[in-house]
Symmetry: C2
Subunit: 388 residues, 2 copies
């Protein structure tokens, strides 16, 4: 359960936020964030305690799955693993966020923007409901694609920010700023872009999956990246309320997701289900939209974007697409082998590295996710300032 | 499916709101309500179309139940009925309300109070999630009691109204107004009262159940009563925004619930599940709290209050409580017979009237619900003014 590399991974992940939090110049902000951390730690513990109980319930309800990547391995083969444990994580998360809302509202009524906070809660909660419904009822694709759209509408209504974008200071091939001005109002197209972002986030995590620990692991890396970004921004300009808002939503997400990771890490004792992937995707979309850092968020989604682009021939039916696009497990070597016709970056990585054990494969993919986040930060803080 | 008495019941129910709407003096209000009606009619049609599809999915997912009140009847016995169709109704409801929010915000941005609207959506959505989770996972009682509490917290935070109550003008046994003043501030106790109200509403509909059509039927009667109350208030004072807000939430509820009633009416082809009872209870609590008519709502809950009070010995374990407290079905006479040890008003009614067919029993209970609403209106508009 407490795999050494998992502990190391979590340790490395948590270091940057702690250092940044420690160096935060504004002490009252620091105090709010610490309180949120304490709440979230409690939520994480509760999740950790509840998962075994809830996994019994999901097993009884026949929400179980076979581990495809262990077929033929006598140690694990034929075991039914409880599915959809995302429901436990996400409900604890919602309760934690609601309680913190109550607490904040008693302590600092002026800092809470209720309409946005509640829009965020509505969208996330609706997405959890959809994900859980999908796990239980096995919805068809057309429903799956339409419902995230509705789930993100409350966000768009509550979105109080502008719809203008800053025009990059580029003179080649055309002098953009001379043509368009400093800022350019995209109007309703900006809202359509935000809608597409929400749909992309919820689905892109769902299709980079199938390896023990990968869904939750990548979500943890992205959550950490967002938290680090928020803390950097708060260090630069302590009055940016929206980054505090993002932190208050991301910190409980991080702690509850880590609790789930302990159970979902190789060899998985629970599966997370679409409930979790949809929930986490929506959480990221929500904070990026309401806190106005959608472009930065996309920098943390580089592996998901690559995976999506690489998958397009299968997703749009040019190449036949099996139900599960996981690599092939070889029980003799206990290693995963690439299936080159399954166009995911998981198989791509295996084609580069050769066969890997499932545990190592997940670790490599998470390291890749982390490296991409580092590149993202580089682009955001060193390259982007040249153009904006 | 289109039972004559069901059509009559719906017809009688819909008459008062139509007359009141027609006589509404403020034409722009009338127009908003008609638009909401058109939206909701579409939502009702969609629900009607979707229920067969979704009931296949719930059957496949093993969410089915036996109809206890037809045991031994060769025509129905042994048939498995799809359960939890509340999920279909409630998701369509949410989508409709969200779309109407978007539409309203484009048309009349100043009339929408976003924070309250979104708090309402959060609470309702969380309650649906809990209800569906309960149907799938069969949660234990302690979870059931705690979670509605959390689901209603966003409401309390968003509740912007006062916490004072008008003191009744009563001089016996003590001159209340002399002692307490015209109004009395209950402070935090008022919020606790609202919390208790939400928990009561969600659970009280759930325990007055077990007869084909009863759960949905009583919800329809209560929804109509609320709509009539809102329309009367809007006729008296056309500026009471909160009653418009309540209508915008209640009208789609009414239409989607009626669609479900067609399938749930005797003999039921689908069951509604805890998803529906929790969802409907929360909808009522939400509008009553945010629109400040909690006392009036309790007048429409008279049968539920009586049933709760009559049930207390079993609910608190003084008398043993079986899992289902329904009356006994007699296959020879095709009638329901009272079980006097099951303390519900359903059995009480059967003890008064003697054995009844399940269909008639439901109709009588709904007539009783309707009569209680009439008494409620009498108290609200003719008795209460003497004291306030």
């Amino acid at each position: 359960m407490f795999d050494r590399s998992l502990i190391g991974f979590i340790g490395i992940c948590c270091l940057p936020p702690i250092v940044l939090l420690y160096n935060l110049p504004n002490l009252s902000l620091q105090w709010i964030i610490i309180q949120s951390g304490i709440f979230s730690f409690g939520a994480g513990l509760l999740t950790y305690r509840l998962i075994p109980t809830i996994s019994e319930l999901t097993s009884t309800a026949n929400l179980t799955g076979m581990d495809l990547n262990k077929k033929g391995n006598p140690k694990y083969s034929g075991k039914k693993i409880p599915e959809s444990l995302g429901i436990c994580v996400s409900v604890v998360y919602l309760v934690c966020v609601i309680l913190f809302q109550l607490f904040q509202w008693f302590s600092f009524p002026e800092t809470v923007q209720l309409s946005e906070y509640n829009a965020a809660l509505t969208s996330i909660c609706f997405m959890i409901l959809l994900g859980f419904g999908d796990d239980v009822l096995n919805l068809r694709w057309r429903y799956k694609l339409v419902l995230p759209l509705f789930a993100s509408l409350p966000l768009l209504v509550a979105y109080a920010g502008g719809t203008s974008v800053v025009v990059p200071d580029i003179n080649f091939p055309v002098p953009l700023r001379e043509w368009l001005g400093m800022t350019f109002d995209l109007g309703v197209f900006y809202r359509i872009y935000l809608l597409m972002l929400a749909i992309f986030c919820t689905n892109s995590i769902n299709i980079l999956a199938g390896i023990n620990g990968l869904e939750v692991g990548q979500s943890v890396v992205i959550a950490i990246s967002i938290i680090v970004h928020n803390l950097i921004e708060l260090t630069i300009s302590p009055n940016s309320q929206q980054h505090l808002f993002s932190l208050v939503l991301m910190i409980p997400f991080l702690f509850t997701a880590i609790s789930l990771l302990f159970y979902n890490w190789y060899p998985s004792r629970v599966f997370v289900g679409d409930t979790f992937t949809y929930f986490s995707g929506m959480c990221f979309a929500v904070v990026a939209i309401l806190c106005h850092f959608s472009k930065t968020l996309l920098l943390f989604f580089i592996p998901q974007i690559l995976n999506f682009l690489y998958s397009t021939p299968q997703l749009f039916g040019v190449i036949p697409c099996p139900r599960h696009r996981v690599p092939k497990y070889n029980p003799t070597t206990d290693k995963m082998e690439a299936i080159p016709t399954n166009l995911t970056i998981i198989n791509l990585l295996l084609m580069v590295t050769g066969p890997l054990s499932e545990r190592k494969l997940c670790i490599y993919l998470l390291i890749f996710q982390g490296l991409c986040s580092c590149i993202g930060f580089g682009v955001r803080y060193f390259v982007a300032p040249y153009f904006f």
